[in-house]
Symmetry: C2
Subunit: 170 residues, 2 copies
DNA sequence: ATCTGCGTTCAGTGCGGACTGAATACATCT
DNA sequence: AGATGTATTCAGTCCGCACTGAACGCAGAT
């Protein structure tokens, strides 16, 4: 692909792709996701799966799943090239959109499951309160109070993540 | 510790601690960090290392490092009990502070290292531009343009994370 | 219908990082 | 000073998860 490009230009390109991989990996998303996006982000024309596989030197399976992840977040979009049976992909260049659909969505999910667990704790605390003997009361009261604070904070976080003002700041 | 508490109360407590572990683990911070904080958060009095070790059933080393992590973020604070050589810990109950000092700080670091890598790419692109022959120019121009956009977004993120308005929303 | 060239799936592998246990360092008491 | 009870450190182990390779499914072409 980059046969006639100057060596140092190719180096800069690879460096950028590597940086993409490092970044996504540091966020626990895996290396190939970032590398794939970076590659597409730098490409002037749509790129097919096998080209990505060739340039990154990884398995087709990895790129396939990475590309799906990325298109789930609308970080890349499929492009059909007429007369070609391959799938081609190009990057969404608007980072703000990607954060909105990708990262923030992930965080929302995690916050949400945390909230579900809080609700379960609340339920089992109800049971505990019913059959409580005297020495339990103080402990139970503290747990209830702390649990309430946790729930309140959880709601505040939810509000923040849904706040249009946050997305406006991006 | 909870010998005279009702079974279902103890269950609620363990459930909360477990939820804490799940949450921190889902954010890639490890399970014990969240469990330790949750335990301290529910405790009416300061707790020493060995009590945490006993209740969580994990190694002393794990709890030791977890506790240090947590106090780095000011999520827990050391408390001295006079006449006792052990270290005691209690939780910071103000979640907002923890997010500020912990999670946001982590994200800032990651964003920062990403920025450093971008700078490196920019530098090697400078070299490439110097020795460029004609067919390279277009590709180089695109890379430069996209790199500029990436840098701009990086700065925007930095600004957002440093924005007092964000912390005010918490 | 068969063949050909794609993308996807899934059981298995390898690796990175959390966790452990023993050795170490440290503090306080006698 | 030594002794004792504590926290910390560090090499090693274990485990989850990203990644792989082969088998599969599914198109369109002939």
């Amino acid at each position: 692909m980059s046969s006639q490009l100057s060596p140092s230009f190719a180096a800069a390109r690879r460096s950028f792709i590597e940086a993409g991989g490092q970044t996504t990996q540091s966020f626990g998303l895996g290396r190939i996701i970032g590398q794939t996006f970076a590659l597409l982000y730098l490409s002037p024309k749509p790129v097919c799966l096998d080209e990505i596989v060739a340039e990154l030197g990884v398995s087709k399976a990895s790129v396939s799943t990475a590309v799906r992840q990325l298109s789930d977040w609308a970080a890349v979009k499929r492009v059909w090239v007429k007369g070609d049976r391959k799938d081609y992909y190009e990057a969404e260049t608007e980072f703000t959109e990607i954060i909105r659909n990708g990262l923030l969505e992930i965080v929302r999910k995690k916050i949400n499951t945390a909230g579900i667990q809080l609700a379960k704790v609340e339920a089992s605390l109800q049971d505990a309160h019913d059959g409580a003997r005297s020495p339990t009361r103080d402990e139970a009261a503290l747990l209830a109070a702390r649990l309430a604070r946790a729930k309140k904070f959880h709601q505040k976080l939810n509000g923040l993540l849904g706040n249009p003002l946050l997305e406006h700041l991006l």
